[in-house]
Symmetry: C2
């Protein structure tokens, strides 16, 4: 029975009849509308909370969850302007205009996690510099971005200072003789780890995208690994692609 109630409310949310931010009927109203027990109503609401569709804001009640995703565009690390009118239109629609960005940066020298050591092709014992950033928008934590660099190439550079680098860490790497010409992006979809739940203040039913970019020089040396934890309710990840002519296909 609670599944049927949840199905009905979910249907209204997906169809847009219940809009983001709308208040659901109270527990008492639902009990009498469906003629069920308080426990059944609570199980239905709990299911919708765990699916990430509804938020509970006691004592006011339950609300349809708002989604105002920010665009995460891996390509903008190197390409600031969208190339196509479609991306322009898309960016305008999803813009976070008027929201106030802020970031907190920490720098440290660490032994790299295994997944980073492998991608940077490091030897056992090699250390990395890490720049850890938490980015906020309007005071709300939006994502966690950690960039790793082989320590031997960045030791005496600006990358070691916990400040924003206006021209970008990639440009600093290029000045040091390690210009990146290619990148490989990997994206994993998973539930957050407890530490991520805490740092990103994630409500129940919020999976994350885990994005890993590895940047390579023309010689094929990996010189940077950036990992980003992207809460699913706050982001849309987007790419624009030029398609190739059929002659180039295998």
């Amino acid at each position: 029975m609670y599944q049927q109630i949840a199905d009905e409310i979910r249907g209204q949310i997906v169809a847009g009849d219940l809009e983001p931010g709308a208040k659901l009927p109270t527990e008492a109203e639902m009990r009498s509308a469906y003629d069920v027990s308080r426990e059944t109503v609570r199980k239905a609401l709990n299911l919708l909370v765990n699916e990430g569709l509804v938020v509970s804001a006691r004592p006011q009640g339950h609300f349809v969850r708002r989604r105002e995703p920010m665009i995460f565009r891996p390509q903008t690390e190197f390409r600031k302007r969208p190339h196509s009118p479609e991306m322009d239109a898309f960016a305008t629609e999803h813009s976070a205009e008027g929201r106030e960005p802020r970031q907190v940066i920490e720098v440290a020298i660490v032994e790299p996690p295994a997944e980073v050591a492998k991608r940077l092709q490091l030897k056992a014992g090699d250390l990395v510099a890490i720049r850890k950033r938490v980015r906020y928008l309007d005071g709300e934590p939006f994502n966690i971005n950690d960039s790793y660099f082989p320590l031997d190439i960045v030791r005496d550079s600006e990358i070691m200072r916990p400040e924003d680098i206006t021209r970008g860490a990639n440009e600093v790497l290029a000045e040091l003789g390690y210009r990146q010409v290619r990148a490989l992006d990997e994206l994993y979809v998973r539930m957050p780890q407890p530490e991520e739940v805490k740092r990103l203040e994630l409500p129940p039913g919020t999976p994350v995208g885990y994005h890993i970019t590895t940047g390579f020089t023309a010689e094929g040396r990996p010189v940077r690994v950036a990992t980003t934890v992207l809460p699913g309710d706050r982001h849309v990840i987007s790419y624009e692609r030029g398609l190739e002519t059929p002659g180039e296909e295998a």
Copy 2:
């Protein structure tokens, strides 16, 4: 207390001390190791199941979840061969070699969902042709892929037949005079809907990636929207990118 037990086991899984497929200690062993009640042990195990780290296979017990992700490469729709040695190496490592692919295709004429109508810039009442595919690997459902086309341009083509199109639906569109030259990819991360749980046989704690590609002709007309539901435990989504020279940055 159950959180501490879960933290300890999670730590062993993340560090690799408990490998994918490994059996966890039995409930009785855990009760005596931690000196706690059966209920505390069950709460700890339940937490790990909901985080997607552990599967319950009664009566045998609990096991570390296996992940053998398939690479989802949006770029291969048009570019079959990887361009870079990095993507080659990555593809080899994540290959689904030896696993048997199969797909089930259905074709229908429908009113488009709102999100598709908007992206195809359709007018109210315009219909679309939809090709719905469920892809299996070794009998396990891997992903759901639905492609939408404005009905007026594909009405009399092969796209309307529920069979695999060896040269690809994109090539058929090109032959019909609608060659795509650009695409916009959007990726959302969310919990699955109940129908997706059923069709993809998703265990608890399995979020999905929802990937939407819109393909455009040189004139900027959108002629195809493809949506793919990608279970997080079965996929890594990957892109290879060439990076541009600083001169092109904004």
